[in-house]
């Protein structure tokens, strides 16, 4: 793999994202809402044991859950399918560049702008907290931002997998939005419904939660921030008692990594090996 070619694609992809008005709108909205969260969080003295950086980070978790998966899934889902649909992928491949280089370049090139917008949102809110006195543990705030970045990477990988298997951008966007609904909106309801309907045990409910990367992010973030893991309910108590607080965190972190690497690896193989005829 030629790193120069990868970097060329990274630069092209990142440049296109920055010029994309939807991406700009997303970045502005996320940053403004992060500031709004900061304002609301600072107006109340303490939320569930958090204060300062911790309180703001806890408030940002829901914002991240709403925005980051949507932009990551959609960006990933259109990155290859749109080029396949309009023929630029075929044209690009007529030049001395390999599919591996294109794939890696696309992943990094679309991830960097998403990470930038997450950093901007967390950065602005963090500066606000610091100006306001900077109470709390800044490392926990950074951990939440880091987990948000990992969530973006995992959902971007899933989006890329969708993209590799879609001939049309409209179809891949539809699947991406469906997955967003499934992970974010229906995720909790699904776990609750399945638990009630099938009478699942606590360990099975915990296992079920691990099947949703957004749920994994949520549990890991709360665990990273809170001195009181009881707020996660019986499942949280079970997990902490079984694996230990640090053990659960690393388990969740590992699962988020797997949620990134498995779809990404499969998408890579599908793009470069399995689906050669689907240019």
């Amino acid at each position: 793999m030629d790193i120069k070619n990868v970097l060329l694609i990274v630069r092209k992809e990142a440049g296109e994202s920055i010029k994309n008005r939807w991406f700009l709108l997303y970045t502005i909205c996320f940053s403004l809402l992060a500031l709004l969260v900061l304002f609301l969080a600072s107006s109340r003295s303490e939320i569930a044991g958090y204060s300062g950086f911790g309180k703001t980070a806890a408030s940002l978790i829901n914002l991240v859950l709403l925005f980051v998966p949507l932009i990551a899934l959609v960006t990933g889902a259109i990155s290859i399918s749109s080029e396949r649909e309009n023929g630029t992928l075929s044209y690009l491949l007529s030049h001395p560049i390999t599919k591996s280089e294109i794939f890696v370049g696309k992943f990094i090139g679309t991830l960097i702008p998403i990470w930038f917008s997450i950093s901007l949102g967390f950065g602005l809110a963090g500066v606000g907290v610091a100006i306001g006195g900077g109470e709390g543990d800044v490392s926990k705030y950074i951990t939440t931002a880091f987990l948000s970045a990992l969530l973006a990477a995992s959902l971007l990988s899933i989006g890329l997998l969708v993209s590799v298997y879609s001939k049309r951008a409209s179809k891949s966007i539809g699947i991406a939005v469906f997955l967003w609904l499934l992970f974010i909106i229906l995720g909790d309801l699904g776990i609750m419904g399945t638990t009630v309907a099938m009478g699942l045990g606590i360990e099975q409910v915990f296992a079920l939660a691990l099947l949703n990367p957004a749920e994994v992010f949520k549990i890991a973030s709360v665990l990273a921030l809170s001195p009181r893991f009881e707020i996660l309910g019986p499942v949280g108590i079970y997990a902490v008692r079984t694996f230990g607080k640090e053990g659960v965190f690393y388990l969740l972190f590992g699962i988020m990594l797997l949620w990134t690497l498995i779809p990404l690896g499969y998408a890579y193989l599908a793009f470069t090996r399995f689906r050669k005829e689907e240019i």
Partner: protein, 299 residues
């Protein structure tokens, strides 16, 4: 320079290219001809390594599957429809120039060569069809490749832009470079090709030289002349006397079916006899006619 041996490409149950074989020597120009869906574009995409296939394709001895990058570096490609990222003209050239590792001054050279220097700051979406095709040609020439591969490069151009573009290709060919192109126009084949290869349903059905193609296949052109109604019968008589027996009235003048080489003779004879020709059009045989004739003759 290019060797294609038993190349087959299937999309599901459809065989787009069926055991195609041909070779192209350095400095030679080969036209792929056929109706839409004959497999020309698919074969070109196989040669470029864009599509996977069974069989063997080598460019300058390099197997396109085994030496993908090296083989692709040898060829410049002009697609049927120019496709670019939404960048400025100069930036598009810079992007592909970087992939091909050419020096940055080469971008200026090719911009000058295709006459796009004054449009270098325009976004590709602001360029006309002709300009976009010239940009596509400029990208193909960036690394001064030994082989130029063009897929129906003039099919979306108007007459003026088409003429300009064909001249650019002709100039490139005259430098001794190798050209492989697909077309469904015989006049382009006459102008650019040393050899022509006909495809039908994915198969190569006929190969010949353009200069004797029409003669070999017994193909005729049709000349449509616009003459006053009162002169039609006289014109038909003059032509019959001179040996052109396939002339008939068409309501606005007359149609004459003849060999391509005799097109000027027909016009000369009628003008010598002072037949007032107000307009004329020459209809080349269609690709369907040619394929039918190839089948009839069992080539």
């Amino acid at each position: 320079m290019i060797k294609v041996k038993d190349v087959t490409k299937r999309f599901g149950n459809i065989t787009a290219v069926d055991k195609a074989c041909f070779s192209l020597n350095a400095g030679e120009s080969l036209a792929l001809l056929g109706v839409n869906g004959a497999g020309k574009s698919t074969l070109i995409k196989c040669v470029l390594g864009i599509l996977d296939y069974s069989g063997e394709i080598t460019l300058n001895g390099l197997n396109i599957k085994e030496n993908e990058k090296e083989a692709k570096s040898l060829a410049g490609y002009v697609p049927q429809e120019p496709l670019f990222y939404d960048m400025r003209t100069r930036d598009v050239l810079g992007f592909f120039g970087s992939i091909r590792r050419v020096r940055s001054s080469r971008v200026d050279e090719v911009l000058d060569l295709v006459g796009l220097k004054e449009h270098e700051r325009k976004s590709t979406s602001e360029l006309s069809g002709g300009m976009r095709q010239r940009l596509s040609f400029a990208i193909a020439l960036l690394s001064d490749p030994e082989v130029l591969i063009l897929d129906e490069p003039t099919s979306n151009l108007d007459a003026g832009a088409r003429g300009d573009f064909l001249n650019l290709i002709k100039e490139y060919k005259n430098k001794g470079k190798t050209v492989l192109f697909s077309s469904h126009r015989l006049d382009e084949v006459d102008l650019l090709a040393d050899r022509a290869l006909f495809m039908e349903s994915g198969k190569v059905v006929f190969e010949g030289r353009p200069e004797n193609l029409q003669e070999l296949l017994g193909l005729k052109i049709t000349i449509n002349l616009v003459v006053p109604q009162g002169s039609v019968e006289r014109a038909i008589g003059i032509l019959a006397r001179e040996g052109f027996h396939n002339a008939e009235s068409n309501g606005r003048g007359l149609n004459i079916e003849t060999d391509s080489k005799q097109r000027v003779d027909v016009l000369k004879k009628l003008l010598q006899e002072e037949i007032p020709i107000s307009d004329f059009k020459i209809q080349e045989p269609s690709m369907e006619n040619i394929i039918d004739r190839i089948k009839e003759n069992g080539y």
